[in-house]
Amino acid sequence: MENIRDIDKSKFSLVQLDEKIHDTKFETKAIGYFGDALRRFSRNKSSVVAFIILCGVIFLAIFAPMISKYDIDEINPRLQYLTPRIPILEKLGILNGYKTYNVQTNTIVSPEDDNYSTSKVANKEQYDTTFIVKYGEKTVVIQNGTEYEYQEIVYDTYKFYAQPYVKLNVTSSEFERLNAIEGAILEVRAIKGIVGEDAEYDLLIDPAVAEDFSVKTYYVFGTDALGRDMWTLVWKGSRTSLIIGLFVAAVTITIGIIWGSISGYYGGTVDLIMERFTEVLGGIPWLVIMTLMKLYFGGSVMTVAIALVLTSWIGTASTVRSQFYRYKGREYVLASRTLGARDKRLIFKHILPNALGPIVTSSVLIIPSAIFFESTVSYLGIGVTSDTSIGNLLSSGQALVTTYPHLTIAPALIISILMITFNLFGNGLRDALNPTLRGVE
């Protein structure tokens, strides 16, 4: 700074001796509650990523079953237990549709052998050498005094699938169509009914020719015991689970808010009675409720949903109640009372908007726990039986988890992703909606 003595004298004139000084205008912009919440949420990277993944999962759950080219209502036993095969990864040697079996050496046959039987190969009672990619170890097992020799083989299940197979109950029109294709029908196994209009045929056909089938079929998650595409099944199951989750969350919030706000706002005797009631209700174990409902109402999606609502509304009501207790004594609520506000206004305009944060968060977090619960009960067999659900898939896959692990991996993967992303998202939501963090960076 230059020599202070040299500062111009004119600068020393008083400028505002008698003016009235006002508060200054604000230099920052106004942000509403949700704008502020959005900003806080977007700063939490893991929640944002979780949210994006979650959206992806939900999108797939809605649309994947619709656009899938595999019809899951069609049962093809021949296609059963195909292992997953994914286009690019198969070149790396994993997920290439191969399956390792340990079979008796005398079941390994080649097409030239005398005891070669197409149907036996089809039923995997015999193993065709053309489909064997690699030979492993030989072991000898002694059972009841007899020696059995076992050979480990790596079987190309997709190649196996591409071989001729039996198509059952083909309609006449379908038969005509196939007949028209050169080389499609290898053998007519049986004819039911009168040849002509409404006969049905059991055929041995060459699918490669008949359906323009290319050996390049990819089942991303493999197939299940009935030959259905696991990918479609898993997404259909997630859809069921999500529907249950959303339904439960919506109904639980509604009941919870109504119950909790009455209990929390009025307090005193009203609260006392309501609390005792919920305590008694909350003491009934969920397994009992679930089993009873299954017994009386069957295994539909609605049954599980209602049972879930019955067990989880208490938690939400409790959260709402405690939030009401926390906020009803606030000075701005008191100020409103002195202005003459009635209960309705106090509850909906003053207490609920501020109390909403934890309520929304707990509601969002109900969804993954509902999904998990549904999976558990379906797995145990007392849940959804009329429809596909993740629990069902896990349950059926569980029996074969050592031989065909791909049946369990797919649904387990999806449910894990669902749970983790929902929980991360819910956590981010809780911090974003926390009013005490408002204006505090």
């Binding site: 508060d23 100020a335 202005l339 003053h350 009013p435």
Partner: protein, 398 residues
Amino acid sequence: MANYTKGEKVLELKNVRQYFSSGWGRKKVVVKAVHNISFDVFKGEVFGLVGESGCGKTTTGRTIIKLYNITDGDIYFKGQRIASGTRSKKIAIDKAKLDILDKKEELTKFLAETKAEMSKQDESSNEYIRAQEDMKSAQEDLDKFIEDKKIEIENIKKDILKSKKDNNPAIDFITKMQMIFQDPIDSLNPRMTVREIIAEGLLIRGERDQEVMTKEVERVLGLVGLLPEHANRYPHEFSGGQRQRIGIARALIVNPELIIADEPISALDVSIQAQVINLLNELREKFDLTILFIAHNLSVVKYFCDRIGVMYYGRLVELATTEELFKHPLHPYTKALLSAVPLPDPDYEKNRKRVYYNPSLRKFTPDKPVMVEIIPAHFVYGSSDEIEGYRKELAEKK
């Protein structure tokens, strides 16, 4: 400081008690927050209620504005009773019933005794006849007594009904009394804009016209020294002093006559306190307001209030005009409070001796202490011995 005590009474408190009880039976805990206080507030004055934390001044304020249900005593606002507690009345009913039972027992005993006496006597003797007459008159006495007591109980019950009715005054009337709260952060709803917060009073009254509300909000914002563009902001963007001014604006928009200011400046910086005090003064002159100012800061109270009541653990211990209280403090607690106030004057501060109040040094006296008017408009709380002492003290000073 003008004398307002000749004017009309805006607020009257008579024997107000506020108790908070929790638990039942043996575990019942009763906190006697306000323990029998009575005072009046006159139109146009600023009445200061002073005391430290826990003395019950905030509870008093909230009871007056009916945020709590009053336990006992009566509160009158502009001559109309707005709050009435029924505790003492219920106790009176219980006592009357017990009296009846006692009297009945007495009579039964008397009759038994007399009968025993009579059985020893001859039927035609005078004693016998007199005893019979005694018995009859005793019975009559009892019947009359029960009659009277029953009438008494009926009257008390009618009183209770009337109290309950008075406890629900019309909204238009009761909102002529408004409150300013202590915590500037907590007294504004963080989810509402300033405009919504201030206009709430009008909204509750049924005002729906947006233009009218905007105009009123701007008028009131101007009164408290804020700009119209502040109306669209959220509370967290303002400083403590500004928030407190928004609270004042909220109270002003319904044109109140009495404002209860519950420690409005305690949470503010010292330099901002002056702003708010000046504002209150200005508004008081402009709108002829009456203010009940609750505080624990004696220097502010001295500047701002016309009359002061000092509270200590639920009781009023001294009540006088500001000048009188500071010139002649009589109650030892008042003296201790005054001596504890720090002054921005180093010479004075470093050389002064403090006075401490130790309640356990009070001697126990058989007569209950009461509020006594020692000289006109100066009341002190004490037993008769203590009052004597105060009178002597006052005489010496003059």
